[in-house]
Symmetry: C2
Subunit: 681 residues, 2 copies
């Protein structure tokens, strides 16, 4: 599964230093595609119409992930693991769709997701000057950050009022450019088909990030408008044959975050501080949820989706840290940086930029001191996050939209409320265990003698305190949330009291964080300027969970001396189960075994290509030169994990579900001919 | 399993502050039993003969754990989880005794353990004055530590030469007393019978530290002398009926470590620094070994014993930290301490002792700074630990015995060599994974730019470096180890080179550690003195993995409003499996199912009592007033985990295997009538 669904992905908006993109590197802006490179290497360049069609056929899952329209009737194809959050929210002990799969026999059976928002990118506008003019030379970083955010909020608000489209200003090239993206939003999204978890995540945590793979990691949704399936002009035609070995393919999706611009100091901060910290945290949560799941079958079900996400992130971060700990990699980065600095220092006009590197080092040092300092339990407790939102909103809504914390601005209100009032189930037992652990960690990080810790604990153990809070709050009830937002907060609610206790410390830490982000933004914008002055332009910005086009070829690789073929097939899935003696997660679902004789076993199931992807690309359509869908991205192999910092197509690969495998499964395993027909296959 | 087998148990030698032992608290020295208390409360007091018989019937597993002699022919009864390390070393993919159990049909079938040493405590002598006279007033802590250790080494050496018995000076009451313990050693120890892991650890990690329980956590060994079963004068008679509800019972074993004397500052250091650090470490290793086990059946087998130990420790530490994070507990401790300090300050003669608390606080602060600073990989790599031992020994052996690091002194040489030359299997794949993770952690803790880190990595990633080291060393070969010890170290061996690289940093950190320990020792000795001056004597020292006698009654308890009965029976084991739908570790072995109709299902299997125990007590015999064996300690319930810091019999309980259950299993499940007969039942 790998890609995205990791809540630890920090949005750091930076661009890529490696100006001369070698090989098939790059997560390119649709507004600035590498047409010349493609033409010279592949003799093919996307036309404007081609690009517009692919862009409009692409879908962003606002919950984190990518997808595409695949029929004129609003059918959306994504990964099972992108859908998992929704499948989990729609499941109960009786109807465990997340585990057992789901099929709507007809449109009336399709089930509405409680809080999904899908985005289609309909227009792009450069607003760099409008954003930058808000920041004047004399401003402190904190003032600059506020002024910049106010400008962005105003631009977004004006666009929303004018077009009624979701309008987001996207920071690109680490703050050197700002583009206004307008999205058509779909909020009535219904579940159409999902295979069993055993088929989608065959091989489980052990096979995750490995290749060869045999996963049917796909799910179908349908977007509705006014209670009817939305009519879609731009959707991808379906290719059941897929792409040939060596064929050029394109990936259109929303890579979440890369850090290729990072200075050596910034990478060292990741290596020595941030990544080890996050890995400790992930392992802590993994064990916590494992233990909770031991308590029974229903507990296991409740914890499963989050546990998968955490295991996925733990494996990804382990791979990334291993890359950073390899001295060879940082030595290479260091040599490049030294060379660049030498050029800067030799140039009288550019010399002053060299101090920017020191600025970044100072920011990293301050960030290292702040690691683990948090005054929020919102990541681990949904009930707390609701309380926190209500308490913050109460104060923020008294200000003009452009002065508010970013998530409370008018232009984002609709999406924000969809989350706040989501009727998705909240499990008290799981909430309690997670909140207790969050409070325990708060005690550990600040020390038991800290005054705020004592205010949080109120003389009780973290466990007893969590039980009291979760047992006492009424925020699980959506109407009560709405009533508090409309008529004023009920201060008798213990979770609200806790959010009030932490409010000023939360704001203090957030202010520091935003100040540091602004300093970094200005610094990387300067580095960008200097580098462009030396090396010229024509590159792609670091990933920002906005739409990009990557490209590459279908291609195997050599691992430990063995040739790994680019394809796997359905027969391979069965042999893989046999090889692992049907142990652990190497068990295909009954539906596959029951259909064994019907399945065309040589149908391709998964394949790899060299396209440059990262977390957030999950569910991205893979298309050929004719813009036909040949596959869906669902993972990267373990060797691709360092692509956060640098791209290499030596052995790093994107892993895809093959369009032919999906078609075969719909027709001959899942009894869903009507969907295969709708795909045009 | 819980008790012991935790390599993270740090030996901190401290005694108990709570002078007026209430209830059935106490891990008493055999040389100073609470005869008056027992007489007044229970109308029974052990005679000297009774105490000597029980002491001589008690056995210490030098690998960590307790046991008892149970026949005149050298039969030794302990826990399966104490035996697990040996079972694991004796196992291969073909003969997996650790998992599948073992039964010697006759004495010729009994298998010799590769490196077990069993100790029987035969005499005790107070040598406090001899040890203390070595330390003179003007000495620095570091000098004092060395002088004290030299004195201890000399006393031990003289005793060994005179008696040929293993002679250890034990630090008691945090350094206020030193006793010389002489042990008869058994090093020819053979495996006689072990049940399957499924029976011994039924319910696995999920049931660990829980009650009611249904575990047959026992194993039988036999000690040999001169190739024949040793003739044993003192062994425990076997009671198949066991003890009645409310009956007084005694536990004779080796509790590993308690910290009841700790000052509030010392407990806060544990709460805010040491325990969170250790838990991060344990979770890291748990995930590492889980992941390794995913690779295949054989990998799972190789990692299992260590993984169980780590899960056990993680659960224990989690419970302990939860106790410390409860403000109620520390507030209570604080109040006691404030009162004691007030009394000290009011007394002109004692006033100066009050500064001792500050001394301890300073030591804690220094220890917090040192946390995670380590220059050894010996905990995670057996091959590295061999290299480290050889490199240290080379230098240490040039000094007189009393000046050496403690483990290299002459009196300990035989036991040391048994470990160093152990033929127990070393699995290269597992070694590699563990060493790679240790090196990665070394990089994290010191930072990738550290010079020593760079010397360790030699330009390679931790993973590649570990592969090179494990692949290149010859230290897996016992004759090569012996040759290097005898003829000089081969510096071409890469693991030896690594140990040399780390040698001076290892010694520097160890010196600091020994200095801090000495300061603490002197401080707690002073606190002891002052407290005795105020409150009188008659108490027990904190646990030091030396023989103690605890006592209590067989007694149920109330949990969440439910009455928990003290007993479980064999029928309960089958219902427990049914309740958990035979999932995960809730599967009894085939032998139990096949014998279901033969088993007397109302035979008691486990029971609880209020005796004061802790890790290290695993395998301790539980005896009645007639010194008959009624059970074997194998766990404490989750509520007993805080007994590291304080004892409470409200809900905290020791968990035991019932003697009747063992007898029934031998006769009617394991076809081992000859062993039941040898037990006299």
């Amino acid at each position: 599964m790998s890609l995205l669904r990791c809540s630890f992905v920090q949005s750091v908006f930076l661009w890529c230093l490696s100006i001369s993109a070698i090989a098939d590197e790059g997560m390119w802006l649709f507004e600035d595609l590498p047409v010349d490179y493609l033409k010279s290497k592949y003799g093919f360049a996307p036309t404007e119409e081609w690009a517009e069609h692919v862009r409009l056929s692409s879908v962003r899952f606002n919950s984190g992930g990518s997808a595409s329209f695949v029929s004129s009737q609003g059918l959306v194809l994504t990964n099972h693991h992108v859908a998992a959050d929704t499948l989990h929210k729609l499941s109960s002990p009786k109807n465990n769709y997340a585990e057992d799969g789901f099929l709507a026999k007809n449109r009336d059976d399709e089930i509405k997701a409680p809080d999904l928002e899908l985005n289609q990118l309909v227009s792009i506008e450069d607003v760099t000057d409008d954003v930058n003019q808000a920041v004047t030379p004399g401003m402190s970083p904190s003032e600059a950050s506020k002024a910049r955010q106010a400008a962005m909020a105003q631009i977004e608000k004006a666009s929303l009022d004018k077009t009624l489209l979701r309008s987001d200003v996207i920071t690109l090239y680490g703050g050197a450019k700002y583009h206004l993206y307008r999205f058509k939003k779909y909020t009535d999204v219904r579940l159409v088909w999902a295979p069993e978890a055993k088929a989608a995540f065959f091989g489980g945590d052990a096979d995750n990030f490995e290749y060869p793979r045999y996963c049917l990691d796909v799910t179908l949704f349908r977007v509705y408008e006014d209670g009817k399936p939305a009519e879609i002009d731009h959707f991808l035609k379906y290719s059941a044959n897929g792409a040939a070995d060596g064929e050029l393919v394109f990936v259109s999706g929303n890579p979440g975050r890369t850090q290729r611009i990072f200075t050596v100091d910034a990478l060292k901060y990741l290596r020595d501080h941030r990544m080890p910290y996050i890995l400790d945290l992930l392992r802590r949560r993994e064990i916590l949820l494992q233990q909770f799941g031991f308590e029974g079958k229903e507990q296991e079900r409740r914890a499963r989706d989050e546990l998968f996400g955490i295991q996925n992130a733990r494996k990804a971060y382990t791979g990334m840290l291993q890359g950073l700990q390899n001295p060879e990699f940082l030595d290479q980065k260091s040599a490049q940086e030294t060379k660049l600095l030498a050029t800067l220092n030799a140039d009288a006009k550019l010399r002053s930029s060299a101090t920017t590197w020191d600025t970044i080092r100072d920011v990293q040092n301050r960030q290292a001191e702040l690691l683990g300092q948090s005054a929020s339990f919102s990541r681990m407790s949904r009930l707390y996050s609701i309380a926190e939102s209500l308490v913050l909103m109460e104060a923020e809504d008294k200000k003009p939209s452009e002065d508010r914390l970013r998530e409370f601005r008018d232009s984002a209100r609709e999406s924000f409320e969809q989350q706040l009032y989501s009727p998705a189930p909240i499990y008290e037992d799981l909430e309690q265990v997670k909140l207790a652990d969050s409070i325990a960690m708060f005690v550990e990080k600040r020390g038991g003698d800290d005054l705020l810790v004592q205010l949080v604990l109120q003389g009780k153990s973290p466990r007893d305190r969590a039980a009291e809070l979760v047992g006492g709050t009424k925020l699980g009830d959506v109407p009560i949330r709405k009533a508090m937002a409309a008529d004023g907060i009920n201060d008798a609610d213990p979770m609200i009291q806790l959010a009030r206790t932490l409010n000023s410390e939360y704001r203090r830490l957030r202010e520091i964080d935003e100040e540091l982000t602004e300093i970094e933004r200005q610094a990387y914008a300067k580095i960008n300027e200097a580098t462009v002055a030396i090396q010229g332009t024509s590159t792609y910005p670091d990933a920002t969970f906005s739409l990009r086009l990557a490209f590459g070829t279908v291609k195997g690789y050599v691992e430990d001396g063995n040739q790994i073929e680019p394809w796997t097939d359905m027969a391979g899935a069965f042999s893989h189960q046999e090889f692992h003696e049907s142990k652990g997660d190497w068990v295909l679902p009954d539906s596959w075994h029951n259909s064994h004789d019907k399945i065309k076993l040589d149908t391709p199931l998964n394949f790899v290509c060299t396209a440059d992807i990262i977390g957030g690309n999950s569910g991205s359509p893979v298309v050929n030169k004719d813009a036909e869908l040949v596959g869906v991205i669902f993972d990267g192999n373990i060797q691709s994990l360092t692509s956060d910092f640098f791209y290499s197509d030596k052995v790093g690969r994107a892993v895809c579900v093959h369009s032919g495998g999906v078609r075969e499964a719909l027709r001959n395993i899942y009894d869903a001919k009507h969907l295969a027909d709708e795909l045009g296959r």
